[in-house]
């Protein structure tokens, strides 16, 4: 499975954010998307998720040699600021969601089993989501996106607000999921990207480019990434 971005352009008025991006993501890998503040990582995700219109270009999903245009139903998008229906309890949210999508979900689990995946304790399951912390809301958001088992998973800074136990669980889950998903993981934490991702993609100067994977944990590799992220306009 491949996700092909062909000639993607995006501007806000006269401010050009993404320029003629051509890039192919493949399944079996977790891609770490790195870029400086304002580089356009969220804009790229929003374009892929059809939240905003692209000025030009196309995004193609190739599966078993068959190409089709990527639609938001192929995508699970975990945003940096989780949005949940605040006046529902976590259980209500999950049960409504499962009821709506029960025919589309492969190997439907019980509500308790789903809560167990993201380690939401029984005492929290019947709390209103408005009373959840940022991290807990994030867990719910990740869970909902995982249940639908989308082909492409976009994660915008998803792990930073989670406690370390759930962080490790989520990392494990993402690693298990990568073999038949395309996972793109945006983060500012280089160590996290180097630890979790199989490939680092840099968004700099409105373009995407991949940094060849070597020994991911060497200082030399780290320096190479930072060097790629440096911009003469800043420095």
């Amino acid at each position: 499975m491949k996700l092909k971005i062909n000639g993607l352009d995006k501007s806000y008025g006269e401010h050009e954010v993404l320029k003629k991006i051509n890039f192919t993501f493949e399944d079996g890998k977790i891609y770490g998307l790195l870029g400086r503040n304002g580089a356009g990582k969220t804009t790229l995700f929003n374009c892929l998720n059809e939240d905003i219109e692209m000025n030009a270009g196309e995004v193609i999903l190739e599966e078993n040699g068959i190409e089709k245009e990527l639609t938001s139903s192929d995508i699970g998008y975990v945003t940096a600021t989780p949005m949940v229906p605040e006046f529902l309890t976590a259980r209500e949210f999950l049960s409504f969601f499962l009821e709506i999508h029960k025919t589309k979900i492969n190997s439907l689990k019980s509500i308790e089993e789903y809560f167990e995946i993201v380690k939401i304790s029984p005492s929290d399951q019947d709390k209103l989501l408005k009373d959840y912390s940022h991290g807990m809301k994030n867990k719910m958001q990740i869970l909902i996106n995982m249940i639908m088992n989308p082909k492409v998973i976009l994660l915008d800074e998803p792990l930073t607000s989670l406690d370390i136990v759930v962080q490790e669980e989520m990392k494990k889950l993402l690693k298990e999921m990568k073999k038949d998903h395309i996972i793109i993981f945006s983060t500012h934490i280089l160590e996290l990207a180097m630890d979790l991702c199989d490939s680092i993609v840099i968004l700099n100067k409105k373009q995407l480019h991949e940094i060849e994977k070597k020994n991911l944990n060497t200082q030399k590799y780290k320096d190479e990434i930072i060097h790629s992220l440096r911009d003469e306009n800043y420095d």
Partner: protein
């Protein structure tokens, strides 16, 4: 589609039940009785479900009856000769106005955001079921109200059926036109002020045709109904074929926009209080000679000119038009002239209520909080008593200026009407004029004071303090009480003036002594 409708109604109802229980949980005695277990208690939720369902149905019925009552009263005021014909005509124009100002399908709401983007419901099925449900409920409530009002009016059943169907057709056409407009211009037509207010103004002018004796016959309604039937059929087939609902919802119902509409749709949320791009540049001469918190406040006011002045300007324009219409009407209607004169001479108290409603204090304080205070309150220096008082005074001046814009139109309008409808002593003209300005200043002070003393918002602009709502309720109650007081305009004006002066002094003392403890983040 039926399953989608059932599911969305079920989610909506659960949401309302939880919101209701949450409200109960914040009330003084019930707060102690209800623990967190209520969220999983099926029995409590069953009882709450009954209450909420009754409340929702009653609310819909009462709103619809009030709508019909307004039409009835307006018909009565416009003409006494053909009450039933005028009633039908006003209903017809109101339906056209509703078609223009309400866009239910695309309007960003939290409910749509949740249903389509969070619950990932099929957008096409959702929008169809949403439209169908709205058409069904309005058909039902319109039929009920027409049935009730038919006891007081003599309208033929055929015309009633025509008008009820006309409402449904108009809704379908309005929704489709709105979608087409959004697709072409990527914005709603109500964001195009010129277009929006021109059409609205035209329809409002049409509303007054019965005053000059023009009233369409029954055959006119039949004709229009047939035209609308054909158009709505075309529109409906377009809506059924349309496949890009999801994309439209995604662009029209962004998270931020949905959040803005969460509670007090009219004005309270972020989109309406966020800085507009065109205000980002400030002319240097506006800042010349300013320093410290004066400069700080000027920058804030200049950067938010659009949102702060927008509704004040709109109110001033609408009020100006109303006064001009009244001036024309009193020339030809002796009775109206006498009524207005007597009203302005002895019922000036009613303007307390009017000034309460048109005061922009609430939205201005929200803009202050959202764009400035919620960040600045994180710094301790910002909470020093002298800083708070200094900024309060500067802000008070600015709020007063904004609110004086519509107030000036009312004050001038009242004085001119008083003069045209019969002469009074010069001091009464002066006090009538000043009274409105004083009221405007009073409400400006009031909103700013309760904002500083009760600071009710959290970072998402949700109202977190019930005491704030309570004070607003008391304010409304007090203004309503004053609006019913019969007192000479002169006495009322003098009373208002002294009351406002005392209120300002007390407010300044309270801000100086209390605001350091009360003005903080929730």
């Amino acid at each position: 589609m039926i399953n989608t409708l059932k599911m969305s109604l079920k989610i909506d109802l659960t949401y309302q039940i939880n919101a209701f229980l949450s409200l109960l949980k914040r009330l003084p005695i019930l707060r102690d009785l209800f623990t967190d277990d209520i969220w999983k208690s099926k029995n409590i939720k069953k009882v709450a479900r009954i209450f909420v369902m009754i409340y929702l149905v009653l609310k819909k019925i009462i709103y619809r009856f009030l709508y019909f009552l307004v039409i009835y009263v307006l018909s009565f005021f416009l003409t006494k000769e053909n009450l039933s014909g005028t009633f039908c005509y006003i209903y017809f124009i109101f339906t056209l106005i509703g078609m223009w100002i309400h866009n239910q399908l695309l309007d960003p709401t939290l409910k749509k955001y949740f249903s389509i983007l969070l619950f990932q419901m099929d957008a096409k099925k959702y929008s169809r079921s949403y439209l169908l449900w709205n058409l069904f409920t309005s058909f039902l409530f319109n039929s009920l109200c027409f049935f009730t009002f038919s006891f007081f009016l003599s309208i033929s059943p055929l015309v009633i059926v025509c008008l009820i169907l006309f409402s449904s057709f108009a809704r379908i056409i309005g929704e489709t036109l709105n979608i087409l407009y959004y697709k072409k211009y990527h914005t709603f037509w109500y964001h195009n002020n010129f277009l929006y207010f021109s059409v609205l103004g035209f329809l409002l002018v049409l509303l007054f045709l019965p005053v000059i004796g023009i009233l369409p016959s029954s055959s006119f309604f039949f004709g229009v109904m047939i035209v609308f039937f054909i158009l709505s059929f075309i529109c409906l087939s377009y809506l059924i074929k349309m496949n890009d609902f999801l994309l439209l919802y995604k662009t029209a119902n962004t998270k931020k926009m949905a959040m803005n509409m969460q509670q007090q749709k009219a004005y309270s949320k972020q989109a309406l209080v966020e800085m507009k791009t065109k205000d980002q540049m400030i002319h240097n001469k506006k800042l010349k000679g300013k320093k410290g918190y004066d400069l700080f406040n000027t920058i804030f006011m200049e950067r938010h000119k659009e949102i702060l002045f927008r509704s004040a300007k709109n109110y001033a324009c609408i009020l100006g038009i109303i006064y001009i219409i009244l001036i024309f009407l009193i020339k030809s209607n002796e009775n109206l002239s006498l009524t207005i004169h007597s009203f302005l001479s002895s019922h000036l108290g009613c303007f307390v209520l009017i000034m309460y409603f048109i005061n922009r204090g609430a939205i201005i304080t929200q803009a202050m909080f959202f764009n400035c205070d919620h960040a600045m309150l994180a710094y301790n220096f910002y909470k020093e008593p002298d800083v708070l008082l200094g900024l309060f005074k500067k802000r008070l001046q600015s709020i007063c200026i904004i609110n004086l814009l519509p107030a000036f139109v009312i004050a001038l309008g009242n004085t001119v009407l008083l003069w045209l409808t019969g002469s009074v002593a010069i001091p009464i003209y002066i006090t009538t004029f000043l009274f409105i300005l004083v009221l405007s200043i009073f409400f400006s002070v009031h909103y700013l004071v309760i904002y500083y003393l009760l600071q009710p918002y959290n970072q998402e602009l949700d109202m977190k303090k019930i005491s704030y709502s309570f004070v607003l309720f008391l304010t409304y109650f007090f203004t309503y009480f004053l609006s019913n007081v019969e007192m000479s305009s002169f006495a009322f004006s003098i009373f208002g003036l002294f009351f406002t002066i005392i209120y300002i002094i007390v407010a300044l003392i309270l801000i100086k002594t209390k605001a350091k403890d009360t003005f903080h983040l929730n």
